[in-house]
């Protein structure tokens, strides 16, 4: 066994005969050639941190494998497992770099390697970063044989490798820190990052671009610039110019794109470089600009929001939720929460917190001594195409109540829908963009058209005291979330009956990360345009709820609503009330 650089060993891999499912026809994810000569023969190897999909199209004899391993500092050392030298030295080796995107794992096989031996290997792991790698072979129909003449191509299925699970138990923690990382880390190449990148994410309000052309944004650890060019196209590109790394958030927009303020290179929303002023002056026939691209992601506008898709193409459709079309006054509020996104999303499937964090605590904050809120007596959970529905019975309700019969939606993967939407978009692993989309029903049924949906930024701290604002519903949520720490340490939790939804959510997240790693579309992505027409979401009270009779209600969700937004709502209310009275 190889002990890399004298690092300590974590433990023996557990051999698990419970092989991962085979998926005929499944695509190889993120296939990327490595520059190593053995892989330039056309082998395709891919991996994610959760699942390794290996096509061992390359076979090399043991000496070559050993030599390659010796060079492997370039490639590793996130995981290295050696197949035992049961016959003649190193018979095979696989290694990978899950810190790369896409990570690379290669399998080399030696002449002595047989399927039976592969299935029966046990080995050791070196220290490093382990993220639940599991290996499996594609079905035989997808195997190709371009192996080295000196040895056979590997034709075995790999044992399931429960790296993380082995580490969990040894760590002495409940949900291990490794598993916690899986849920929390969303940077490029991380399993959760790969999952969330399969969805359109709201990142700004359309109305924000009435007064600016470009703004810096950070989404899932990627520093980007969101802009609108003179032709009305939105772009989301790398924050740094590929020329000399200047900050494109200070660039200026033109009809066809964003121009760097440093030397004037111009990029369009597809990432193409359209103009390099001095280069083109010196070399009018040059093609340098055609060789330069900038990272660019598609952006779409819908419901007053700007949505970005940071995943692989083809992108799924941007969901066309039915609620976007409800009659009413709409507004968007955005906050930055200094904690990890996942503890925010867990709140989306935690019915009991409402009783304590919002009802009872609000009463305490108001100095009231009255009876406490009705207690929860029963919870239920259902699943549908776009997430979970959580249902509750309280002491003052029965199973005939809509809180039970209809329930509320934990919208997959990072949203709460309760008539309004609350997305929790990771800025990075310790901060979250809370994007709220709200609607106030208006009186009557006369047509109402809102020219623009205002977008405002909600403060989270009280400027005078420096404490978190606690007066509004979502602000109270924020206090709970940030109180859990920048990244909640789930190794210290003690879960109970109120956490059934949270456990269900975590379990499904792990499953969906695996689905993505295996090349499948995760839950809730829509690709059929016929299905993406005013997509239904369950809503207590129905989609077209009556407006409150007493006039526009105070905005209870977030502190800091601007006066002009409040004023617009009142005007809309008056307009509809008059129209209704007239009709």
């Amino acid at each position: 066994m190889r002990d890399r650089g004298g690092e300590s060993l974590l433990g023996t891999l557990r051999r698990d005969t419970d092989l991962l499912e085979e998926r005929p026809g499944a695509p190889v994810l993120g296939a990327e050639r490595d520059h190593h000569p053995f892989l330039e023969r056309g082998s395709v190897t891919s991996v994610s941190r959760m699942r390794v999909v290996v096509r061992p199209e390359v076979s090399v004899p043991a000496p070559a494998a050993r030599a390659l391993l010796d060079q492997s500092e370039v490639l590793i050392p996130a995981i290295t497992y050696l197949l035992p030298s049961t016959t003649q030295g190193v018979t095979g080796v696989a290694w990978g770099r899950p810190d790369l995107r896409p990570a690379t794992v290669m399998v080399l096989t030696g002449p002595a390697l047989t399927p039976r031996r592969v299935r029966n290997f046990s080995t050791t792991l070196t220290t490093g970063t382990y993220f639940g790698m599991r290996g499996s072979m594609p079905p035989s129909s997808h195997r190709t044989t371009c192996g080295h003449p000196a040895g056979p191509t590997l034709t075995a299925r790999y044992p399931r490798i429960s790296v993380v699970r082995e580490c969990d138990r040894r760590s002495g923690h409940m949900l291990s820190s490794q598993r916690n990382k899986l849920l929390c880390e969303t940077g490029p190449g991380t399993p959760m990052g790969e999952l969330l990148r399969r969805y359109w994410q709201p990142i700004a309000g359309v109305s924000e671009f009435e007064r600016q052309d470009a703004k810096a944004v950070r989404i899932m650890g990627e520093d980007l610039v969101l802009y609108r060019d003179g032709d009305g196209n939105y772009g989301l590109v790398d924050r740094h110019c590929p020329h000399r790394r200047a900050d494109l958030a200070y660039g200026y927009t033109e009809d066809r794109g964003l121009r760097c303020n440093y030397h004037g290179w111009l990029f369009d929303h597809s990432g193409a470089c359209l103009h390099q002023p001095f280069e083109e002056t010196r070399h009018p026939e040059g093609t340098f600009k055609d060789k330069v691209r900038i990272k660019a992601y598609p952006v779409a506008a819908k419901a007053g929001l700007l949505w970005a898709y940071l995943g692989p193409q083809p992108a799924p459709l941007l969901p066309d939720w039915d609620r976007f079309y409800s009659r009413g006054y709409k507004q968007i509020a955005i906050s930055e929460i200094p904690c990890n996104w996942f503890q925010c999303q867990e709140n989306s499937i935690d019915p009991v917190h409402f009783e304590w964090l919002h009802s009872n605590w609000s009463m305490v904050l108001r100095g009231q001594d009255g009876p406490r809120a009705p207690t929860h007596t029963r919870l239920g959970f259902d699943e549908f195409d776009y997430g979970f529905v959580y249902r509750r019975v309280r002491a003052d309700t029965t199973e005939d109540d809509e809180l039970w019969t209809t329930g509320r939606v934990c919208l997959w993967p990072n949203c709460l829908y309760v008539g309004h939407f609350e997305w929790r978009v990771p800025i990075d692993d310790t901060s979250t963009l809370s994007v709220g989309w709200f609607i106030d029903e208006l009186p009557g049924d006369a047509p109402f058209e809102q020219r623009r949906i205002p977008c405002w930024h909600a403060p989270v701290r009280d400027e005078k005291t420096g404490r978190w604002i606690d007066t509004h519903v979502m602000n109270q949520d924020y206090i709970a979330w940030v109180g859990q720490g920048a990244i909640a340490d789930r190794t210290l939790e003690h879960l109970g009956e109120s956490d059934r939804g949270v456990i269900m959510l975590r379990k499904r997240m792990f499953e969906e990360m695996e689905a993505v790693a295996a090349g499948r579309d995760p839950l809730g992505t829509i690709r059929d345009p016929a299905l993406n027409d005013r997509v239904y979401l369950p809503i207590v009270g129905g989609l077209n709820r009556a407006a409150p009779g007493a006039g526009p209600q105070p905005f209870v969700f977030l502190a800091g609503q601007p006066d002009e937004v409040r004023s617009e709502l009142e005007q809309a209310w008056q307009q509809c009330a008059v129209a209704s009275g007239a009709s």
Binding site: G172, M174, D382, D400, T406, I503, Y536, P538
Partner: protein, 151 residues
């Protein structure tokens, strides 16, 4: 808050406009609601999506297992009556499915519960390779620390 009476499995009232709207949202008709009653629209949607028949869904419902869990149970080739011992032991009927997915027996699940773990939590831990002893020691290590210092 809208409320209406849905009494017994076999006498649920005809759907009202609200329920019909909800059913349409799930791609269902009034006839579907009638055919599947007393299941709710979301349950019917999920059952149809996963090939669970109305009769099977009702059989599971009579044992207290909702459609979501019933779909998983059928995948595991469980029978509705298999949840009865679990219910009799004080578990939610759906817990039997969760346990089956994790390969836990009723005896094991009971031991985990007695040690302070709700079943879905225990099932996740079992899948992650935890033994009950290890998990108990890990879970209560922090709490015990306070107990030892007199808190």
């Amino acid at each position: 808050m809208r409320r209406r009476v849905r009494r017994e499995l076999t006498v649920s009232p005809p759907p009202d406009a609200y329920e019909l709207a909800e059913a349409r949202g799930y791609g269902l008709t009034a006839s579907d609601l009638h055919h599947w009653r007393p299941l709710s629209a979301i349950e019917i949607h999920w059952a149809r999506k996963h090939g669970l028949s109305p009769g099977a869904a009702r059989r599971w419902a009579r044992e207290g297992v909702g459609v979501r869990d019933a779909v998983r149970a059928v995948r595991l080739r469980m029978r509705p009556e298999q949840v009865r011992p679990w219910a009799a032991a004080g578990f939610l009927p759906g817990d039997a499915v969760e346990a089956a997915e994790a390969g836990m027996t009723l005896t094991e699940a009971t031991a985990w519960r007695q040690a302070g773990f709700i079943l879905p939590d225990a099932a996740l831990l079992v899948r992650d390779g935890w033994t009950l002893d290890d998990a108990t020691a890990a879970r209560f290590a922090g709490v015990d620390r306070y107990a030892q210092t007199g808190r």
